[in-house]
């Protein structure tokens, strides 16, 4: 580009300024405009200065799979040779604060698979019928939106939508937080992926090096529970309003005293029946009062989830680990009722197990110094093992299907530049719970940024 070339057209944007230089026709109008500008400046001066921080992350995936999509075939997925590309997610984060008042807000919007789009079109190819066109498959989600108030130096209280403090993904959800190309398959099979809910939260950073988190959030909706995904489908996303008649309590304790090492445990407990879209799981009784929705109450189906987790980022070492177990009371009654749900609700309607188990761990070692690379680079070969069973130790009336047990072995390497840009390559070998099923292999490349 020639910097000083004269282009008359480039003056076009300046035309308004040239007109502005012409004296005003009426001096009165000019005075009014001046006053308005002054008032505006005063108003501006009254508004407190916000501390605003923009961030976000993106993840693109390119995968080669040696198996077909249908895992429900008799011997598991058939042999195939497929490439799958995915604009997995783009997340935009906005943090704003009024430090003098100890107020903060965080907003996180996620575009999954490139967003979404649909339209109704009038189709004259046939006879002029209306057709619902899906223009773009994907989702746009507000994953976080909360206000937080600091109470002193160590305590903060939040209200809004935030991550449920269970598992590892509530804290380590950015692609630069974990080593694998994808989030741990076992964890996302059993509980919702980066599980967000609405409610209130208290965080207390105990000076000794202990972080305590307490949350009261809306519970899950048991219509979405299934064989394959245990309680994942109970995450309320289908309706505009979240039902919170059944609340859940979450407690989490993390030891953060040791530099580069944190570990802890969390527990989740909440009922799931009264968050169903319809009151269709109620106790039957003789003298029912017709003025009451559920005169004898609801069938209780509380969900308990316990986990222990670990994270290491010390020197060249990186590691994560999780053991998560969950139990659903009255799973048989939930399953029986779900089997009769309408198709239009868009849930699987398969029986849900009483228990589920997810265990995973990954470990890596930074070899960038050994390769003569500077501090800005990290090259971390790693291994990961996932184990998940969404029908762990079920009741006698539920066939313990090995199809719902899986172990995934992953080996790969992650490259990170200045903790912002990353590229990862790994190979996964998945085995279902019986030798009858064909193993599944995936080679996956992911790249993106985190800022």
């Amino acid at each position: 580009m020639t910097l000083f070339a004269f282009r008359p057209l480039s003056l076009l944007p300046c035309l308004p300024l040239l007109f502005a230089a012409v004296p005003a026709w009426a001096s009165e109008e000019a005075d009014v405009a001046k006053e308005a500008a002054k008032d505006e400046a005063k108003e501006e001066a009254k508004r407190p200065k916000l501390e605003v921080e923009l961030g976000g992350y993106a993840d693109l995936q390119f995968a080669y799979l040696n198996h077909g999509e249908n895992q429900n075939r008799a011997r598991g997925a058939q042999r195939d040779s497929r490439l799958v590309f995915d604009t997995t997610r783009l997340v935009l984060e906005l943090e704003a604060g009024l430090p003098e008042y100890g107020l903060e807000t965080e907003v996180e919007v996620e575009f999954e698979h490139g967003g979404t789009g649909s339209a109704v079109e009038l189709e004259y190819e046939e006879f002029g019928e209306y057709e619902q066109e899906v223009e773009k498959g994907g989702e746009v989600l507000v994953e976080e939106l909360y206000l937080a108030k600091k109470l002193g130096r160590h305590v903060s209280v939040s209200v809004g939508r935030f991550y449920v403090a269970v598992g590892t993904l509530s804290e380590f959800y950015r692609p630069t937080d974990y080593l694998g190309t994808v989030r741990a398959e076992s964890e996302t099979l059993v509980i919702p992926n980066t599980w967000d809910e609405m409610g209130a939260q208290v965080k207390w950073q105990v000076p000794w090096g202990l972080r305590l988190t307490g949350q009261v959030v809306n519970g899950l909706d048991s219509t979405g529970f299934s064989s394959q995904g245990w309680v994942v489908g109970g995450h309320q996303r289908r309706f505009e309003v979240v039902r919170a008649t059944d609340l859940a309590l979450v407690l989490r304790a993390d030891v953060t005293r040791f530099d580069g090492l944190s570990f802890g445990a969390s527990g989740y407990y909440g009922d799931t029946t009264r968050n169903r879209p319809k009151p269709d799981l109620v106790q039957q009784c003789e003298a029912a009062n017709e003025n009451e929705v559920a005169p004898c109450g609801y069938v209780s189906a509380p969900l308990l989830i316990l986990d222990a987790h670990l994270s290491v980022k010390k020197g060249p070492w990186r590691a994560k680990a999780l053991v998560l177990w969950g139990h659903l009371d009255n799973a048989e009654q939930v399953s029986q009722r779900n089997a009769r749900l309408s198709n239009l609700l868009g849930v699987l309607r398969t029986p849900v197990s009483d228990n589920a188990l997810a265990v995973w761990g990954e470990v890596g070692f930074d070899v960038a110094p050994a390769l003569g690379l500077g501090d800005a680079h990290e090259v971390i070969p790693y291994v990961r093992v996932d184990y998940a069973d969404t029908q762990f130790n079920p009741r006698s009336a539920l066939f313990d299907n090995p199809r719902f047990r899986r172990t995934v072995y992953t080996v790969g390497a992650a490259y990170t530049l200045s903790e912002v840009a990353f590229a990862k390559l790994d190979f996964s070998h998945r085995r279902l719970g019986s030798a009858t099923f064909r193993p599944e292999n995936t080679l996956r490349l992911s790249t993106g940024f985190s800022y």
Binding site: A74, G76, G128, E129, Y130, Q132, S396, A397, F399, T436
Partner: protein, 365 residues
């Protein structure tokens, strides 16, 4: 069939829920010279009472007979009783396949379709249950995956590969499993009939919901036209499914596992009964019934060119299916059968095209 009903139904949803359409810009010559036809209430009443309910009543009856035949076989395993159980299975397939021209309402909404008719049979999971010592209680069977029960699992257990199974090949555990799932089938068949004829879970009989289309307070079918669109939509769905799903999937993949009713060699009979289902809806009567009041054929115009064309194309589709060499599971891999299979697909697609372009406008004008 279970596997495509939702996606196909969703694809057609706009047609089924749209209001009156402007056909002024239609590119099809036939549609713009269409006579104005008044859709009468008895179009849907007749359809509900003389097509749907009799077909489901027949299905419930045949599923009860199948359960009885299988129980008798278990009590006294003889070649004659095995033959009788197989005959009962064939008999139950007829009303089921003849009901697939109207896979809407309870059969779809409450998952009766996949509960009755999912395939391929999940033989791995089936074998795992057979080799386990789990007691096969009603609760346990209800919790099994849909591909471990229903018509095709019964078929696999009764017939074996290509109908080669002998009565002495049955194990006590197989009998136990077989009777458990035929009992479950009978329960589903009765529930499906009840959903149309009785108040269930506080919901009125679906027969009433359909028959009172257009009457005040009917939110499911705010007009007779809306119900008529559902009827024609059901026809289009099943024609699409037979040509582009039931035949195309196994034929394109050359995969016998994807063939419906492959163990009993009943696939072509199933497909033919699907076309009969279309014919029943069009003529406004189930097999062995007579039509009363307005039918879709009346709407099109009895003995008009279009009516003759539709009936001719139904007949051609059935003939084309009959030309495919049995068994269909082998024909899909035989190059010599290529022309017959593709001709049948073509004939069914042609009929589907006629319903889409020439019949649908009658109920959406």
């Amino acid at each position: 069939m279970a596997r495509f009903s939702l996606s196909v139904r969703l694809a057609l949803a706009p047609v089924l829920v749209s209001g009156a359409l402007l056909v002024g810009g239609c590119s099809n010559e036939d549609c713009c010279d269409m006579p104005e036809v008044t859709l009468k209430q008895d179009l849907v009443t007749n359809f509900a009472d003389r097509v749907v309910v009799p077909t489901y009543r027949d299905l419930a009856h045949e599923l009860t007979a199948l359960d009885t035949a299988v129980l008798l076989l278990r009590t006294e395993p003889t070649a004659a009783r095995l033959t009788a159980a197989r005959e009962a299975w064939f008999a139950a397939r007829v009303p089921w396949e003849q009901s697939e021209g109207f896979l809407f309402g309870p059969v779809d909404s409450f998952g009766y379709d996949p509960a009755l008719d999912s395939w391929p049979v999940n033989r791995t999971d089936l074998d795992a249950v057979l080799s386990s010592s789990d007691p096969l209680t009603a609760e346990y069977v209800r919790n099994l995956q849909e591909t471990q029960k229903g018509f095709h699992t019964v078929e696999y257990l009764l017939f074996g590969e290509g109908g080669t199974k002998k009565v002495e090949d049955f194990t006590p555990r197989q009998f136990e499993y077989l009777t458990a799932i035929t009992t479950e089938l009978q329960t589903v068949g009765n529930a499906l009939l009840a959903a149309w004829t009785e108040t269930t879970d506080g919901r009125p009989p679906y027969r009433d919901t359909l028959a009172t289309a257009g009457q005040s307070g009917n939110t499911a079918y705010p007009s007779v036209q809306a119900a008529a669109q559902e009827m024609v939509g059901g026809i289009i769905n099943i024609l699409d499914e037979v040509a582009n799903g039931k035949i195309a999937d196994p034929y394109d993949a050359k995969d016998p596992d994807l063939v419906e009713s492959q163990f009993a060699y009943n696939s072509l009979s199933d497909f033919t009964n699907n076309i009969r289902s279309v014919e029943n809806v069009y003529l406004g009567r189930a097999t062995d019934m007579t039509a009363q009041g307005q039918t879709l054929r009346d709407v099109v115009g009895v003995n008009t060119d279009l009516d003759a064309r539709i009936r001719g194309e139904i007949s051609q589709a059935i003939t084309a299916l009959g030309n495919i060499p049995e068994p269909f599971r082998d024909a899909i891999r035989d190059p010599a059968s290529k022309d017959e299979i593709e001709a049948a697909q073509e004939a069914i697609r042609k009929l589907q095209d006629t319903f889409e372009k020439n019949v649908l406008p009658f109920v959406t004008q």
